[in-house]
Protein backbone atom coordinates (compact mmCIF):
# COMPACT_ATOMS: atom_id res chain seq x y z
CA UNK A 1 0.00 0.00 0.00
CA UNK A 2 1.32 3.42 -0.89
CA UNK A 3 2.33 5.18 2.28
CA UNK A 4 1.21 8.80 2.09
CA UNK A 5 4.14 11.09 2.64
CA UNK A 6 4.13 14.83 2.88
CA UNK A 7 6.09 15.19 -0.37
CA UNK A 8 3.89 13.18 -2.64
CA UNK A 9 0.75 14.66 -1.16
CA UNK A 10 2.03 18.15 -1.85
CA UNK A 11 3.02 17.07 -5.31
CA UNK A 12 -0.37 15.50 -5.82
CA UNK A 13 -2.05 18.79 -5.02
CA UNK A 14 0.22 20.71 -7.36
CA UNK A 15 -0.34 18.38 -10.26
CA UNK A 16 -4.00 18.27 -9.38
CA UNK A 17 -4.31 21.98 -9.99
CA UNK A 18 -2.15 21.91 -13.10
CA UNK A 19 -3.51 18.83 -14.82
CA UNK A 20 -7.12 18.84 -13.77
CA UNK A 21 -8.18 22.42 -13.19
CA UNK A 22 -8.00 23.79 -16.75
CA UNK A 23 -9.07 20.87 -18.93
CA UNK A 24 -7.98 20.97 -22.55
CA UNK A 25 -11.36 21.48 -24.05
CA UNK A 26 -14.89 22.38 -23.13
CA UNK A 27 -15.96 18.87 -24.01
CA UNK A 28 -13.52 17.27 -21.59
CA UNK A 29 -14.66 19.63 -18.88
CA UNK A 30 -18.27 18.67 -19.38
CA UNK A 31 -17.33 15.00 -19.41
CA UNK A 32 -15.55 15.41 -16.12
CA UNK A 33 -18.57 17.15 -14.63
CA UNK A 34 -20.78 14.35 -15.80
CA UNK A 35 -18.49 11.72 -14.30
CA UNK A 36 -18.30 13.64 -11.04
CA UNK A 37 -22.07 13.97 -10.88
CA UNK A 38 -22.50 10.25 -11.42
CA UNK A 39 -19.92 9.39 -8.77
CA UNK A 40 -21.27 11.64 -6.05
CA UNK A 41 -24.96 11.18 -6.87
CA UNK A 42 -25.73 7.97 -4.93
CA UNK A 43 -24.25 9.09 -1.64
CA UNK A 44 -25.36 12.68 -1.96
CA UNK A 45 -28.92 11.61 -2.65
CA UNK A 46 -29.03 9.47 0.49
CA UNK A 47 -27.32 12.24 2.43
CA UNK A 48 -29.89 14.81 1.35
CA UNK A 49 -32.85 12.54 2.09
CA UNK A 50 -31.69 10.97 5.34
CA UNK A 51 -29.60 13.76 6.80
CA UNK A 52 -29.99 17.25 5.37
CA UNK A 53 -33.76 17.08 5.06
CA UNK A 54 -34.29 15.73 8.61
CA UNK A 55 -31.91 18.40 9.92
CA UNK A 56 -34.03 21.18 8.43
CA UNK A 57 -37.21 19.39 9.33
CA UNK A 58 -36.36 18.97 13.02
CA UNK A 59 -35.88 22.72 13.30
CA UNK A 60 -39.23 23.35 11.65
CA UNK A 61 -41.02 20.69 13.71
CA UNK A 62 -39.73 22.22 16.93
CA UNK A 63 -42.01 25.21 16.27
CA UNK A 64 -45.10 23.05 15.80
CA UNK A 65 -47.39 20.85 17.85
CA UNK A 66 -46.85 17.92 15.47
CA UNK A 67 -47.52 14.37 16.66
CA UNK A 68 -44.86 11.72 15.98
CA UNK A 69 -46.06 11.17 12.43
CA UNK A 70 -47.44 13.99 10.33
CA UNK A 71 -47.52 17.77 10.40
CA UNK A 72 -48.73 20.05 13.12
CA UNK A 73 -49.70 23.66 13.56
CA UNK A 74 -47.20 26.43 13.99
CA UNK A 75 -47.02 27.30 17.68
CA UNK A 76 -44.04 29.65 17.75
CA UNK A 77 -41.78 29.27 20.71
CA UNK A 78 -44.37 27.43 22.80
CA UNK A 79 -42.36 24.17 22.89
CA UNK A 80 -39.25 25.96 24.08
CA UNK A 81 -41.17 27.93 26.72
CA UNK A 82 -42.73 24.74 27.96
CA UNK A 83 -39.32 23.10 28.07
CA UNK A 84 -38.01 25.73 30.47
CA UNK A 85 -40.76 24.91 32.91
CA UNK A 86 -40.58 21.14 32.49
CA UNK A 87 -39.23 19.45 35.59
CA UNK A 88 -38.19 16.39 33.58
CA UNK A 89 -36.17 18.47 31.15
CA UNK A 90 -34.00 19.91 33.91
CA UNK A 91 -33.79 16.49 35.51
CA UNK A 92 -32.59 14.90 32.27
CA UNK A 93 -30.13 17.72 31.64
CA UNK A 94 -28.73 17.33 35.14
CA UNK A 95 -28.53 13.55 34.87
CA UNK A 96 -26.77 13.74 31.51
CA UNK A 97 -24.24 16.14 33.03
CA UNK A 98 -23.76 13.81 35.98
CA UNK A 99 -23.20 10.87 33.66
CA UNK A 100 -20.66 12.86 31.63
CA UNK A 101 -18.87 13.78 34.86
CA UNK A 102 -18.76 10.15 35.94
CA UNK A 103 -17.50 8.81 32.62
CA UNK A 104 -15.48 11.19 30.46
CA UNK A 105 -12.39 11.80 32.60
CA UNK A 106 -12.31 8.40 34.38
CA UNK A 107 -12.72 6.60 31.05
CA UNK A 108 -9.84 8.60 29.59
CA UNK A 109 -7.57 8.01 32.59
CA UNK A 110 -8.37 4.30 32.67
CA UNK A 111 -7.65 4.11 28.94
CA UNK A 112 -4.28 5.78 29.48
CA UNK A 113 -3.49 3.55 32.44
CA UNK A 114 -4.31 0.37 30.53
CA UNK A 115 -2.31 1.57 27.54
CA UNK A 116 0.73 2.20 29.75
CA UNK A 117 0.24 -1.22 31.30
CA UNK A 118 -0.02 -2.97 27.93
CA UNK A 119 2.88 -1.34 26.05
CA UNK A 120 5.51 -2.49 28.54
CA UNK A 121 4.52 -6.15 28.18
CA UNK A 122 6.13 -8.51 25.70
CA UNK A 123 4.85 -12.07 25.69
CA UNK A 124 1.57 -11.41 27.49
CA UNK A 125 0.83 -8.32 25.47
CA UNK A 126 -1.76 -9.57 23.01
CA UNK A 127 -3.62 -11.46 25.76
CA UNK A 128 -3.84 -8.50 28.09
CA UNK A 129 -4.80 -6.21 25.24
CA UNK A 130 -7.58 -8.57 24.21
CA UNK A 131 -8.84 -8.77 27.81
CA UNK A 132 -9.19 -5.00 28.01
CA UNK A 133 -10.56 -4.57 24.51
CA UNK A 134 -12.99 -7.49 24.11
CA UNK A 135 -15.90 -5.87 26.02
CA UNK A 136 -15.83 -3.14 23.37
CA UNK A 137 -16.74 -5.69 20.71
CA UNK A 138 -19.97 -6.63 22.48
CA UNK A 139 -23.24 -4.99 21.61
CA UNK A 140 -24.79 -2.89 24.33
CA UNK A 141 -27.61 -5.29 25.10
CA UNK A 142 -25.17 -8.16 25.66
CA UNK A 143 -23.22 -5.91 28.01
CA UNK A 144 -26.32 -5.03 30.00
CA UNK A 145 -27.54 -8.65 30.15
CA UNK A 146 -24.18 -9.74 31.56
CA UNK A 147 -24.10 -6.96 34.16
CA UNK A 148 -27.71 -7.43 35.18
CA UNK A 149 -26.74 -10.98 36.00
CA UNK A 150 -23.50 -10.04 37.79
CA UNK A 151 -25.31 -7.42 39.88
CA UNK A 152 -28.50 -9.40 40.41
CA UNK A 153 -29.76 -8.71 43.92
CA UNK A 154 -30.57 -12.36 44.65
CA UNK A 155 -27.99 -14.55 42.96
CA UNK A 156 -25.56 -12.07 41.38
CA UNK A 157 -21.99 -13.06 42.06
CA UNK A 158 -21.08 -9.77 43.76
CA UNK A 159 -23.98 -9.90 46.17
CA UNK A 160 -23.25 -13.57 46.95
CA UNK A 161 -19.60 -12.81 47.69
CA UNK A 162 -20.43 -9.79 49.83
CA UNK A 163 -23.35 -11.53 51.49
CA UNK A 164 -25.67 -8.64 50.60
CA UNK A 165 -28.93 -8.27 48.68
CA UNK A 166 -28.15 -4.91 47.16
CA UNK A 167 -30.36 -4.04 44.15
CA UNK A 168 -28.13 -1.41 42.62
CA UNK A 169 -30.33 -0.47 39.66
CA UNK A 170 -33.30 0.31 41.86
CA UNK A 171 -31.30 2.56 44.15
CA UNK A 172 -31.63 6.24 43.13
CA UNK A 173 -28.16 7.09 44.47
CA UNK A 174 -26.27 4.18 42.96
CA UNK A 175 -28.08 3.49 39.67
CA UNK A 176 -26.27 6.17 37.69
CA UNK A 177 -22.78 5.42 39.04
CA UNK A 178 -23.41 1.76 38.20
CA UNK A 179 -24.44 2.64 34.63
CA UNK A 180 -21.34 4.84 34.37
CA UNK A 181 -19.07 2.09 35.65
CA UNK A 182 -20.53 -0.43 33.19
CA UNK A 183 -20.02 2.09 30.39
CA UNK A 184 -16.36 2.41 31.34
CA UNK A 185 -15.96 -1.36 31.46
CA UNK A 186 -17.52 -1.56 28.04
CA UNK A 187 -15.76 1.26 26.19
CA UNK A 188 -12.36 1.79 27.85
CA UNK A 189 -10.65 -0.55 25.38
CA UNK A 190 -11.31 1.90 22.58
CA UNK A 191 -9.52 4.70 24.44
CA UNK A 192 -6.72 2.32 25.30
CA UNK A 193 -6.15 1.55 21.61
CA UNK A 194 -5.83 5.24 20.78
CA UNK A 195 -3.40 5.78 23.66
CA UNK A 196 -1.32 2.77 22.61
CA UNK A 197 -1.01 4.25 19.13
CA UNK A 198 0.02 7.56 20.68
CA UNK A 199 2.59 5.96 22.98
CA UNK A 200 4.13 4.04 20.10
CA UNK A 201 4.50 7.23 18.11
CA UNK A 202 6.78 8.78 20.76
CA UNK A 203 10.41 8.34 19.58
CA UNK A 204 12.34 5.90 21.76
CA UNK A 205 15.38 8.22 21.71
CA UNK A 206 13.64 10.58 24.11
CA UNK A 207 13.33 7.84 26.70
CA UNK A 208 16.89 6.69 26.13
CA UNK A 209 18.24 10.20 26.52
CA UNK A 210 16.15 10.75 29.65
CA UNK A 211 17.33 7.54 31.31
CA UNK A 212 20.96 8.34 30.46
CA UNK A 213 20.42 11.66 32.20
CA UNK A 214 19.11 9.69 35.18
CA UNK A 215 15.51 10.91 35.09
CA UNK A 216 13.09 9.21 37.47
CA UNK A 217 9.95 7.40 36.31
CA UNK A 218 7.79 10.35 37.31
CA UNK A 219 10.03 12.83 35.54
CA UNK A 220 9.95 10.72 32.38
CA UNK A 221 6.17 10.43 32.48
CA UNK A 222 5.42 14.09 33.15
CA UNK A 223 8.35 15.44 31.14
CA UNK A 224 8.03 13.29 28.00
CA UNK A 225 5.04 10.96 27.85
CA UNK A 226 2.28 13.25 29.08
CA UNK A 227 3.14 16.36 26.98
CA UNK A 228 3.83 14.35 23.81
CA UNK A 229 0.65 12.37 24.33
CA UNK A 230 -1.47 15.47 24.79
CA UNK A 231 -2.94 15.56 21.26
CA UNK A 232 -4.23 12.01 21.77
CA UNK A 233 -5.54 12.84 25.23
CA UNK A 234 -7.37 15.82 23.78
CA UNK A 235 -8.81 13.65 21.00
CA UNK A 236 -9.98 10.98 23.44
CA UNK A 237 -11.57 13.57 25.74
CA UNK A 238 -13.39 15.16 22.82
CA UNK A 239 -14.69 11.87 21.42
CA UNK A 240 -15.71 10.81 24.93
CA UNK A 241 -17.58 14.01 25.70
CA UNK A 242 -19.61 13.90 22.50
CA UNK A 243 -20.34 10.19 22.85
CA UNK A 244 -21.40 10.35 26.49
CA UNK A 245 -23.68 13.36 26.00
CA UNK A 246 -25.67 11.11 23.64
CA UNK A 247 -26.11 8.38 26.26
CA UNK A 248 -29.31 6.39 25.89
CA UNK A 249 -28.85 2.66 25.24
CA UNK A 250 -27.32 1.55 28.55
CA UNK A 251 -29.67 3.66 30.63
CA UNK A 252 -32.68 2.40 28.75
CA UNK A 253 -31.68 -1.23 29.05
CA UNK A 254 -30.56 -1.13 32.68
CA UNK A 255 -32.95 1.24 34.41
CA UNK A 256 -35.48 2.60 31.89
CA UNK A 257 -34.57 5.99 33.40
CA UNK A 258 -35.66 5.03 36.87
CA UNK A 259 -35.87 4.70 39.76
CA UNK A 260 -37.94 7.87 40.16
CA UNK A 261 -36.36 9.35 37.01
CA UNK A 262 -33.01 9.37 38.76
CA UNK A 263 -31.30 8.19 35.56
CA UNK A 264 -33.43 9.72 32.83
CA UNK A 265 -31.10 11.37 30.29
CA UNK A 266 -31.67 13.86 27.49
CA UNK A 267 -31.89 11.45 24.58
CA UNK A 268 -34.27 9.30 26.56
CA UNK A 269 -36.39 12.36 27.19
CA UNK A 270 -36.52 12.87 23.41
CA UNK A 271 -37.46 9.22 22.95
CA UNK A 272 -40.09 9.35 25.65
CA UNK A 273 -41.81 12.46 24.32
CA UNK A 274 -41.65 11.30 20.68
CA UNK A 275 -42.23 7.57 20.81
CA UNK A 276 -44.16 7.10 24.04
CA UNK A 277 -46.15 10.34 24.34
CA UNK A 278 -46.32 11.03 20.58
CA UNK A 279 -45.34 14.67 20.91
CA UNK A 280 -43.12 15.06 17.86
CA UNK A 281 -42.95 18.84 17.99
CA UNK A 282 -41.96 18.92 21.64
CA UNK A 283 -39.44 16.10 21.13
CA UNK A 284 -37.94 18.08 18.24
CA UNK A 285 -37.42 21.07 20.50
CA UNK A 286 -35.63 18.82 23.01
CA UNK A 287 -33.52 17.45 20.14
CA UNK A 288 -32.48 20.97 19.21
CA UNK A 289 -31.47 21.67 22.79
CA UNK A 290 -29.53 18.39 22.89
CA UNK A 291 -27.73 19.45 19.72
CA UNK A 292 -26.94 22.87 21.20
CA UNK A 293 -25.67 21.32 24.42
CA UNK A 294 -23.32 19.04 22.47
CA UNK A 295 -22.19 21.97 20.34
CA UNK A 296 -21.51 24.31 23.26
CA UNK A 297 -19.82 21.59 25.32
CA UNK A 298 -17.53 20.69 22.40
CA UNK A 299 -16.56 24.30 21.80
CA UNK A 300 -15.91 24.96 25.49
CA UNK A 301 -13.86 21.78 25.75
CA UNK A 302 -11.95 22.69 22.61
CA UNK A 303 -10.88 25.98 24.18
CA UNK A 304 -9.94 24.35 27.46
CA UNK A 305 -7.94 21.64 25.74
CA UNK A 306 -6.14 24.13 23.55
CA UNK A 307 -4.99 26.12 26.53
CA UNK A 308 -4.10 22.85 28.26
CA UNK A 309 -1.49 22.21 25.58
CA UNK A 310 0.73 25.03 26.91
Amino acid sequence: MAQPTRQNRKKANETFSVAMKPPRSRRRKLLMWRDAALLIAPFTLLYLVFFIFPTLRVVQLSFTDAPLIGNGNFVGLANYKRLLGDFLFWKSLKNTGYFVLLTVIPNTLFGLMFALMVVRLKRLRSWVLAAFFLPNMLTVSVVTLIWQWLLDSQFGVFNLLLGTKFAVFSNPDWAMPAVAFITIWWTVGFNMLLFIAGLQAIPKEYYEAASIDGATGNQIFFGITWPLLWPITALVLTLQLIAQLKIFDQVWLLTRGGPFNSTIVMLQFVYREAFQNFRGGYASAISIVLFLVIMVASIVQFWILRSGRR
Binding site: R57, T139, S141, V142, L160, L193, Y271, F275, S284
Partner: protein, 276 residues
Protein backbone atom coordinates in the same frame (compact mmCIF):
# COMPACT_ATOMS: atom_id res chain seq x y z
CA UNK B 1 12.52 1.88 29.64
CA UNK B 2 12.91 0.49 33.10
CA UNK B 3 14.26 -2.97 33.64
CA UNK B 4 11.25 -5.24 33.64
CA UNK B 5 12.92 -7.74 35.94
CA UNK B 6 13.21 -5.24 38.80
CA UNK B 7 10.90 -5.50 41.80
CA UNK B 8 8.61 -2.62 40.73
CA UNK B 9 8.68 -4.09 37.22
CA UNK B 10 7.40 -7.46 38.43
CA UNK B 11 4.85 -5.82 40.70
CA UNK B 12 3.61 -3.82 37.70
CA UNK B 13 3.25 -6.96 35.60
CA UNK B 14 1.39 -8.75 38.37
CA UNK B 15 -0.97 -5.80 38.77
CA UNK B 16 -1.50 -5.71 35.00
CA UNK B 17 -2.42 -9.38 34.89
CA UNK B 18 -4.71 -8.92 37.88
CA UNK B 19 -6.53 -6.03 36.17
CA UNK B 20 -6.82 -7.98 32.93
CA UNK B 21 -8.41 -10.88 34.82
CA UNK B 22 -10.78 -8.51 36.61
CA UNK B 23 -11.75 -6.94 33.29
CA UNK B 24 -12.41 -10.22 31.54
CA UNK B 25 -14.21 -11.77 34.52
CA UNK B 26 -17.75 -10.66 33.51
CA UNK B 27 -17.32 -12.39 30.14
CA UNK B 28 -15.91 -15.47 31.84
CA UNK B 29 -18.83 -15.50 34.25
CA UNK B 30 -21.36 -15.19 31.42
CA UNK B 31 -19.81 -18.18 29.64
CA UNK B 32 -19.59 -20.26 32.81
CA UNK B 33 -23.19 -19.49 33.74
CA UNK B 34 -24.38 -20.43 30.26
CA UNK B 35 -22.82 -23.88 30.66
CA UNK B 36 -24.50 -24.65 34.00
CA UNK B 37 -27.76 -26.29 34.82
CA UNK B 38 -30.30 -23.62 35.71
CA UNK B 39 -30.42 -24.87 39.30
CA UNK B 40 -26.64 -24.55 39.67
CA UNK B 41 -26.64 -20.86 38.83
CA UNK B 42 -28.11 -19.99 42.20
CA UNK B 43 -25.79 -21.87 44.53
CA UNK B 44 -24.13 -20.10 47.41
CA UNK B 45 -21.14 -20.02 47.39
CA UNK B 46 -21.11 -19.61 43.60
CA UNK B 47 -19.80 -22.43 41.43
CA UNK B 48 -16.68 -21.14 39.66
CA UNK B 49 -16.62 -23.89 37.06
CA UNK B 50 -19.71 -25.54 35.65
CA UNK B 51 -20.30 -29.01 37.11
CA UNK B 52 -21.99 -30.76 35.41
CA UNK B 53 -21.24 -29.12 32.10
CA UNK B 54 -24.28 -28.78 29.88
CA UNK B 55 -25.07 -27.34 26.47
CA UNK B 56 -28.79 -27.65 27.03
CA UNK B 57 -29.18 -23.88 27.44
CA UNK B 58 -27.72 -23.30 23.98
CA UNK B 59 -29.93 -25.85 22.26
CA UNK B 60 -32.95 -24.43 24.07
CA UNK B 61 -32.18 -20.83 23.12
CA UNK B 62 -31.58 -21.77 19.50
CA UNK B 63 -34.76 -23.82 19.44
CA UNK B 64 -37.17 -21.58 21.28
CA UNK B 65 -36.26 -17.98 20.51
CA UNK B 66 -36.18 -16.14 17.24
CA UNK B 67 -32.40 -16.07 17.38
CA UNK B 68 -31.88 -17.53 13.90
CA UNK B 69 -34.14 -14.95 12.39
CA UNK B 70 -32.29 -12.14 14.21
CA UNK B 71 -28.95 -13.56 13.10
CA UNK B 72 -30.20 -13.43 9.56
CA UNK B 73 -31.53 -9.87 9.93
CA UNK B 74 -28.30 -8.69 11.52
CA UNK B 75 -26.19 -10.42 8.93
CA UNK B 76 -28.21 -9.20 5.98
CA UNK B 77 -28.45 -5.63 7.27
CA UNK B 78 -24.76 -5.43 8.16
CA UNK B 79 -23.52 -6.92 4.88
CA UNK B 80 -25.66 -4.73 2.64
CA UNK B 81 -25.02 -1.59 4.68
CA UNK B 82 -21.27 -2.20 4.74
CA UNK B 83 -21.22 -2.81 1.00
CA UNK B 84 -23.14 0.39 0.32
CA UNK B 85 -21.04 2.44 2.74
CA UNK B 86 -17.77 1.31 1.16
CA UNK B 87 -18.83 1.65 -2.47
CA UNK B 88 -20.71 4.95 -2.17
CA UNK B 89 -18.15 6.57 0.10
CA UNK B 90 -15.21 5.46 -2.05
CA UNK B 91 -16.90 6.81 -5.20
CA UNK B 92 -17.74 10.08 -3.53
CA UNK B 93 -14.30 10.41 -1.96
CA UNK B 94 -12.72 9.72 -5.33
CA UNK B 95 -14.75 12.44 -7.04
CA UNK B 96 -13.88 14.97 -4.33
CA UNK B 97 -10.22 14.00 -4.37
CA UNK B 98 -9.53 13.69 -8.11
CA UNK B 99 -12.14 15.57 -10.12
CA UNK B 100 -13.02 19.22 -10.24
CA UNK B 101 -16.64 20.11 -10.64
CA UNK B 102 -18.91 23.00 -9.71
CA UNK B 103 -20.26 22.84 -6.18
CA UNK B 104 -17.41 20.66 -4.93
CA UNK B 105 -16.56 22.96 -2.03
CA UNK B 106 -20.19 23.27 -1.08
CA UNK B 107 -20.53 19.48 -1.04
CA UNK B 108 -17.40 19.09 1.04
CA UNK B 109 -18.57 21.62 3.62
CA UNK B 110 -22.01 20.07 3.71
CA UNK B 111 -20.41 16.72 4.47
CA UNK B 112 -18.17 18.21 7.17
CA UNK B 113 -21.22 19.85 8.72
CA UNK B 114 -22.52 16.34 9.19
CA UNK B 115 -19.91 15.83 11.90
CA UNK B 116 -21.39 18.63 13.95
CA UNK B 117 -24.95 17.37 13.96
CA UNK B 118 -25.56 14.19 15.95
CA UNK B 119 -27.83 11.74 14.13
CA UNK B 120 -29.63 11.11 17.43
CA UNK B 121 -31.07 14.61 17.25
CA UNK B 122 -32.81 13.72 13.99
CA UNK B 123 -34.79 10.69 15.07
CA UNK B 124 -38.18 12.42 15.10
CA UNK B 125 -38.23 13.65 11.47
CA UNK B 126 -36.34 10.58 10.29
CA UNK B 127 -38.78 8.15 11.85
CA UNK B 128 -41.79 10.11 10.71
CA UNK B 129 -40.43 10.23 7.15
CA UNK B 130 -39.77 6.50 7.07
CA UNK B 131 -43.22 5.89 8.48
CA UNK B 132 -44.60 7.91 5.57
CA UNK B 133 -42.61 5.72 3.19
CA UNK B 134 -44.06 2.65 4.91
CA UNK B 135 -40.54 1.59 5.84
CA UNK B 136 -41.00 0.83 9.53
CA UNK B 137 -40.12 -2.85 10.01
CA UNK B 138 -38.38 -3.08 6.66
CA UNK B 139 -34.85 -3.76 5.49
CA UNK B 140 -34.77 -0.46 3.58
CA UNK B 141 -35.63 1.31 6.82
CA UNK B 142 -32.93 -0.55 8.71
CA UNK B 143 -30.26 -0.10 6.06
CA UNK B 144 -30.49 3.20 4.21
CA UNK B 145 -30.29 5.69 7.12
CA UNK B 146 -27.20 3.86 8.37
CA UNK B 147 -25.35 4.32 5.07
CA UNK B 148 -24.70 8.00 5.86
CA UNK B 149 -21.19 7.48 7.26
CA UNK B 150 -19.40 10.62 6.13
CA UNK B 151 -16.15 9.81 7.93
CA UNK B 152 -15.42 7.15 5.30
CA UNK B 153 -15.56 9.76 2.53
CA UNK B 154 -13.06 11.93 4.37
CA UNK B 155 -10.74 8.95 4.91
CA UNK B 156 -10.98 7.85 1.26
CA UNK B 157 -10.38 11.41 0.09
CA UNK B 158 -7.20 11.63 2.17
CA UNK B 159 -5.87 8.32 0.90
CA UNK B 160 -6.80 9.05 -2.71
CA UNK B 161 -5.06 12.43 -2.42
CA UNK B 162 -1.79 10.67 -1.72
CA UNK B 163 -1.90 8.26 -4.66
CA UNK B 164 0.86 9.42 -7.06
CA UNK B 165 -0.82 11.38 -9.86
CA UNK B 166 1.59 10.01 -12.47
CA UNK B 167 -0.38 6.78 -12.37
CA UNK B 168 -3.59 8.59 -13.09
CA UNK B 169 -2.16 10.85 -15.77
CA UNK B 170 -0.65 8.01 -17.73
CA UNK B 171 -3.96 6.17 -17.55
CA UNK B 172 -5.74 9.27 -18.87
CA UNK B 173 -3.28 9.43 -21.76
CA UNK B 174 -3.99 5.77 -22.48
CA UNK B 175 -7.64 6.72 -22.74
CA UNK B 176 -8.95 5.13 -19.55
CA UNK B 177 -12.37 6.26 -18.34
CA UNK B 178 -12.86 7.82 -14.91
CA UNK B 179 -14.54 4.73 -13.57
CA UNK B 180 -11.75 2.59 -14.99
CA UNK B 181 -9.13 4.70 -13.25
CA UNK B 182 -11.06 4.36 -10.00
CA UNK B 183 -11.43 0.62 -10.37
CA UNK B 184 -7.98 -0.26 -11.65
CA UNK B 185 -5.73 2.22 -9.88
CA UNK B 186 -7.28 3.91 -6.87
CA UNK B 187 -9.18 1.02 -5.32
CA UNK B 188 -6.46 -1.65 -5.72
CA UNK B 189 -3.91 0.68 -4.15
CA UNK B 190 -6.19 1.19 -1.16
CA UNK B 191 -7.50 -2.30 -0.53
CA UNK B 192 -5.85 -2.35 2.89
CA UNK B 193 -7.85 0.55 4.22
CA UNK B 194 -10.93 -0.71 2.40
CA UNK B 195 -10.85 -3.97 4.34
CA UNK B 196 -10.17 -2.15 7.60
CA UNK B 197 -13.07 0.25 7.04
CA UNK B 198 -15.35 -2.54 5.90
CA UNK B 199 -14.69 -4.65 8.99
CA UNK B 200 -15.13 -1.75 11.37
CA UNK B 201 -18.30 -0.63 9.59
CA UNK B 202 -19.68 -4.17 9.71
CA UNK B 203 -19.02 -4.45 13.44
CA UNK B 204 -20.53 -1.02 14.06
CA UNK B 205 -23.70 -1.83 12.16
CA UNK B 206 -24.00 -5.31 13.67
CA UNK B 207 -23.66 -3.90 17.18
CA UNK B 208 -25.83 -0.81 16.62
CA UNK B 209 -28.75 -0.81 19.00
CA UNK B 210 -30.41 2.58 18.75
CA UNK B 211 -31.61 2.74 15.15
CA UNK B 212 -32.92 -0.86 14.88
CA UNK B 213 -34.57 -0.31 18.27
CA UNK B 214 -36.52 2.64 16.82
CA UNK B 215 -37.34 1.32 13.38
CA UNK B 216 -38.32 -2.27 14.21
CA UNK B 217 -41.37 -3.07 16.26
CA UNK B 218 -42.17 -6.58 15.08
CA UNK B 219 -39.93 -9.34 16.39
CA UNK B 220 -39.38 -10.85 12.97
CA UNK B 221 -37.60 -7.70 11.75
CA UNK B 222 -35.38 -7.16 14.77
CA UNK B 223 -31.62 -7.48 14.70
CA UNK B 224 -29.67 -9.39 17.36
CA UNK B 225 -29.03 -6.45 19.73
CA UNK B 226 -32.72 -5.55 19.87
CA UNK B 227 -34.15 -9.06 19.61
CA UNK B 228 -32.34 -10.46 22.62
CA UNK B 229 -33.82 -7.79 24.86
CA UNK B 230 -37.28 -9.15 24.02
CA UNK B 231 -36.46 -12.71 25.04
CA UNK B 232 -35.33 -11.77 28.52
CA UNK B 233 -38.77 -10.48 29.21
CA UNK B 234 -40.31 -13.83 28.34
CA UNK B 235 -37.59 -15.95 29.97
CA UNK B 236 -37.98 -14.24 33.32
CA UNK B 237 -35.07 -14.95 35.64
CA UNK B 238 -33.57 -17.94 33.88
CA UNK B 239 -30.01 -16.78 33.94
CA UNK B 240 -28.27 -19.79 32.42
CA UNK B 241 -30.46 -19.46 29.35
CA UNK B 242 -30.13 -15.68 29.20
CA UNK B 243 -26.34 -15.96 29.38
CA UNK B 244 -26.32 -18.63 26.65
CA UNK B 245 -28.19 -16.14 24.49
CA UNK B 246 -25.80 -13.32 25.40
CA UNK B 247 -22.84 -15.51 24.48
CA UNK B 248 -24.41 -16.51 21.16
CA UNK B 249 -25.22 -12.87 20.41
CA UNK B 250 -21.70 -11.69 21.18
CA UNK B 251 -19.87 -14.56 19.52
CA UNK B 252 -19.79 -13.54 15.83
CA UNK B 253 -18.22 -10.13 16.41
CA UNK B 254 -15.81 -11.34 19.09
CA UNK B 255 -14.70 -14.15 16.77
CA UNK B 256 -14.39 -11.67 13.92
CA UNK B 257 -12.29 -9.39 16.09
CA UNK B 258 -9.96 -12.19 17.14
CA UNK B 259 -9.47 -13.17 13.48
CA UNK B 260 -9.07 -9.67 12.03
CA UNK B 261 -7.48 -8.01 15.08
CA UNK B 262 -5.00 -5.94 13.11
CA UNK B 263 -7.56 -4.67 10.62
CA UNK B 264 -10.00 -3.79 13.38
CA UNK B 265 -7.36 -1.77 15.20
CA UNK B 266 -6.36 -0.04 11.97
CA UNK B 267 -9.97 0.77 11.12
CA UNK B 268 -10.69 2.12 14.59
CA UNK B 269 -7.65 4.40 14.40
CA UNK B 270 -8.75 5.81 11.05
CA UNK B 271 -12.38 6.40 11.98
CA UNK B 272 -11.27 8.06 15.21
CA UNK B 273 -9.24 10.55 13.20
CA UNK B 274 -5.79 8.98 13.46
CA UNK B 275 -4.36 7.94 10.14
CA UNK B 276 -3.43 4.25 10.06
Amino acid sequence: MKNRMSVPGIAGTVFTIFMALVWIFPIYWAIVTSLKLESKTMTNPPQWIPIPLTFANYTRVLGESGLFRWYFNSFFTSIITTFLVIVLCALCGFAISQLSFPGKNLLYWLLLAGFMIPGQALIVPLFSMLADFGWVNSYQGLILPQVIAVINIIIYKQFFDSVPVELRDSAIIDGASTLRIFRSIYMPLNMGITWALAIVTFIGIWNNFFWPFLITTSESMMTIPVGITQVTDSFGVQYARTMAMAVLAGLPVVAGYLIFQKRVTEGIMMTAGLKG
